[in-house]
Amino acid sequence: MTDLLSKFDPYIAEHKGLLDTGVNDPFGVVMEQLLSPTRAIINGRETILVGTYNYMGMTFDAEVIAAGQRALAGFGAGSTGSRVLNGTFAPHIAVEQALKDFYGTKSAIVFSTGYQANLGMVSTLAGKGDYIVLDADSHASIYDGCKLGNAETVRFRHNNVEDLDKRLGRLPADAGKLVILEGVYSMLGDVAPLRELVAVAKQHGAMTLVDEAHAMGFFGAHGRGVYEELGLEDEIDFVVGTFSKSVGTVGGFAVSNHPKFEILRLVCNPYRFTASLPPSVAATAEASIRKLMTATEKRRNLWAVSRQLHAGLKAAGFRMATETPESAIIAVLLPDQAGTVAMWHQLLEHGIYCNMSRPPATPAGIFLLRCSLSAAHTAEDVREIVARFAAARDSLPAAA
């Protein structure tokens, strides 16, 4: 018998080699207790969370929790069904209405996770004979959506307008085309030149889908995303987003003004062949989205702490992934895997949780310690984070 898992032996060896150096497992962190959106107990120690995508700090909002508790008591623990059978409850309709109000669109469809939203949208929109042209640094859920569907998939170099233009120009003029972009790319925290990319897509007759998962709540006048900030609301055909970041719960969605958008509910497998969100989750999302519409103070503070962290780490001598703070993701570049793991470990020992990222999640050859800020962080928190980054670096063996 061939052991089907033996193909993963190189990964097993690599992971074991990593743990044998005595470091905490970067992929096995356990939050033993949550104290607030920015504090948890990890390894028995109070830790500042700087890697949770909890951008707007909504996870412990009293009104959000109360809405969830009411729905949990009133509608039960779960839906036990698909949205197209028995799984559509009043809270699912209410959260879709909240999304339509937030984005100012005619339609909104909620999926069970953000991953599934991309899987469903990408695989269903572009079918056999159609073409998908996607940014090379697209999230795994977008790539997997391409694999699930039957369209031909072509990628262009990250954020490269000329490269997109060339690849679209090589496609048959009358073929169906979908250009897939992200407002903020989650690894480096860099923002896409959407105006130029979307103009090229339109010029070649392509429809556009923009994933704004890492921009919801704090880009644009209504917090809709980078596309809103750049005045592209009439240019984008489909916007995909998630509840698991700024909204502070879990779930995914797509919004659109396309007159035929609603048909996707009946033809999209990642939507119709899975259980709907628990009604309590839908209710927390609705409450949170409605509060995000007017969360101007949170938005202002999120930008302030993001800029402060970028400036602080830069001044402390760290190499930043972006020259300026472009989003609420502030990433530090490190030279290699061993150095990145050692630094990540020291940070956790100093009570700082951030994300360690490496290829293939990152672009080739790039190792990162990625911080994501929250509106719940204070200026004092950021001073402490920068101080602990410096202390962690000083405690590395090489520094001795």
Partner: protein
């Protein structure tokens, strides 16, 4: 003749990614001999696309295991 020229140019495009200095031939395997990871393959594909002004859909990549197979695919895409 065309295929020979394509093959020769492909060897030049692959060379920068040939970190182990493997002797390249028709049968050279990208995964086993050159040990290219998925991200490196993506860079190589982008360079090939620009060299011949073609698109190489991601869907066909899993079937292109050797330099010879890649040459045939490029020939076909050139039309």
């Amino acid at each position: 003749m065309d295929r020979d020229a394509t093959y020769a140019r492909l060897l030049e495009l692959i060379e920068p990614f040939n970190k182990k200095g493997v002797a390249l031939a028709e049968e050279t395997s990208f995964a086993n001999d050159l040990e290219l990871d998925s991200l490196t393959v993506m860079d190589l594909v982008a360079n090939i696309e620009d060299e011949w002004d073609i698109n190489m859909p991601l869907n066909i990549l899993p079937d292109l295991e050797t330099v010879g197979q890649l040459t045939d695919a490029v020939e076909k895409l050139k039309g």
